[in-house]
């Protein structure tokens, strides 16, 4: 029986929660980087001890942290403790937080503009890294989804980052508009059956797919309908909150849109709604059971104006039919006076058997289920607001 490590990013630091395969008792380490916003932290599938963290601040900007020992010690890539911090000719070596849009004539795109909240065109400005997606095969390769929306990649373990400029340079780029939380690239899905294929999602532009390793991108939003935009069926402009995929069914995608839970059976070429009997089809998270590709989880939120669960009841909804038919999972979750939110990157599943499911709330709780969602228990109750949750099964 293995062990698990839950990585919780919060508004005021990072936490590492570990347990044995029973997942009943937990050791809590942290806060790491206390006082900083930890938008996301994730481990490499190719090296379970390699962890990456997006550490951000409205005051001090972006920092990338890395651990090579499962979270015991951390360093900014390129700045190992005790090593020289400058090259022999005196130049600083650290560029791990240097996210510069690619404007080079060879590979880049001009720093044009995108549509702003007021309808005017606005220059692209880097603000923070929302999501880090380590390569499935190489611990030194990581993709970073950033605000203003762009995709970056490192191939040297986070020491330097380079934009995959074909995405931001897509012809629709000037039409991309920030969601209420910013113009963030928040979802990155790598297809293990096809190393050249990748999906990303942007609020509020929509979903894009590359089939050539990130050089060119295609918007894949057909079937999405968003009443709040001038053309409800527009190619871009949809506020996609999260997308998910089971690795054994790479052509099946699930989406929690601003409103509507959606499904695609053709790698995003077309989408159809599977909200079914949900009490609200607004929400942020969506994830897929590790062993049952047609079992999916969402956490309905009352509305875009009221970011808390309907009726003050925190309920995970599970569909065992890939959508449309949903059951409420309530055992162990507060069923009255609960007004927390569950943010888009704050749900994860482990690969143990039975499958573990985890999510974090803006009230600072991290809940876990060791039986595929049938019952829940808090792992911790009083962290700062949780921004992201990831989990690693440790063999």
């Amino acid at each position: 029986m293995g062990a698990v490590r839950v990585l919780a990013g919060t508004r005021k630091g990072a936490f590492v929660l570990t347990s044995d395969g029973k997942r009943k008792t937990w050791d809590v380490q942290g806060p790491f980087f206390g006082g900083w916003e930890i938008y996301h932290m994730k481990g490499s599938p190719a090296d379970l001890n390699r962890l990456y963290v997006s550490q951000t601040s409205g005051w001090f900007g972006q920092i990338i942290q890395r651990s090579d020992d499962g979270g015991k010690t951390w360093h900014q890539p390129g700045l190992r403790p005790g090593e020289p911090t400058t090259t022999p000719d005196g130049m600083p070596v650290a560029e791990s937080n240097k996210f510069m849009y690619d404007t080079s004539p060879e590979t880049g795109k001009p720093l044009t503009t995108h549509q702003f909240y007021d309808g005017t065109q606005h220059p692209w400005e880097f603000k923070r890294v929302w999501h880090l997606e380590p390569s499935l095969t190489d611990p030194d390769t990581v993709y970073a989804g950033v605000e203003d929306a762009a995709l970056f990649r490192t191939t040297d373990g986070g020491q330097s980052w380079h934009e995959l400029a074909g995405l931001r340079g897509h012809a629709s780029g000037p039409q991309w508009t920030p969601g209420a939380g910013g113009l963030g690239l928040h979802s990155i899905i790598l297809d293990q059956s096809n190393p050249k294929r990748m999906y990303i999602a942007i609020s509020a532009a929509g979903v894009f797919r590359t089939d050539d390793g990130g050089t060119t991108w295609k918007p894949i939003n057909r079937g999405l309908r968003s009443q709040y935009i001038p053309d409800p069926d527009a190619e871009v402009g949809h506020c996609v909150h999260r997308i998910a995929m089971h690795p054994t069914k790479p052509n099946v995608l699930f989406m929690q849109k601003h409103w509507d839970v959606m499904r695609s059976d053709d790698a995003g070429e077309s989408w159809h709604e599977v909200s079914g009997n949900l009490p609200s089809d607004f929400g942020f998270v969506i994830d897929v059971h590790a062993h049952e590709p047609e079992t999916i989880f969402v956490v309905p939120i009352k509305s875009d104006s009221e970011h808390y669960p309907p009726d003050g009841k925190l309920r995970v909804y599970r569909s065992r039919t890939g959508g449309n038919t949903w059951e409420a999972l309530t055992s162990g979750l507060p069923q009255k006076d609960c007004y927390v939110n569950v943010l888009r990157d704050a749900m994860a599943v482990d690969t143990l058997d039975p499958c573990g499911v985890y999510f974090g709330t803006t009230g600072g709780q991290v809940y876990g289920s060791t039986d595929g969602g049938d019952s829940w228990a808090p792992i911790v109750r009083d962290l700062p607001a949780v921004l992201s949750v990831e989990v690693q099964a440790l063999s």
């Binding site: 005051w59 911090t85 400058t86 600083p92 937080n97």
Partner: protein, 98 residues
Amino acid sequence: MIRVVIPYHLRTLANVSGEVELDVKGPATIRSVLETLEGRYPMLRGTIRDHGTLQRRPFLRYFACEEDMSLEAPDTPLPERVVSGAEPFLIIGAIAGG
């Protein structure tokens, strides 16, 4: 030797406590102090000034001898009392947020 005070979170990043003392080559200006600071503590690059534009980050301010120097040109000479080490050059995080 020029004394520089940096905010708590940047002291943590740079793994220093208290003031930082810098031997600045050439005239002591806002720019030369920041370049020397970032050269000695490269983990601070991008946290005080933007990587690309080298503009001061919006929620940080520069103070010296009870004067706000945030809007001064980067090559403005620092006051003599800062150059002599009698007073520190202050990099302050704005009191903002909650």
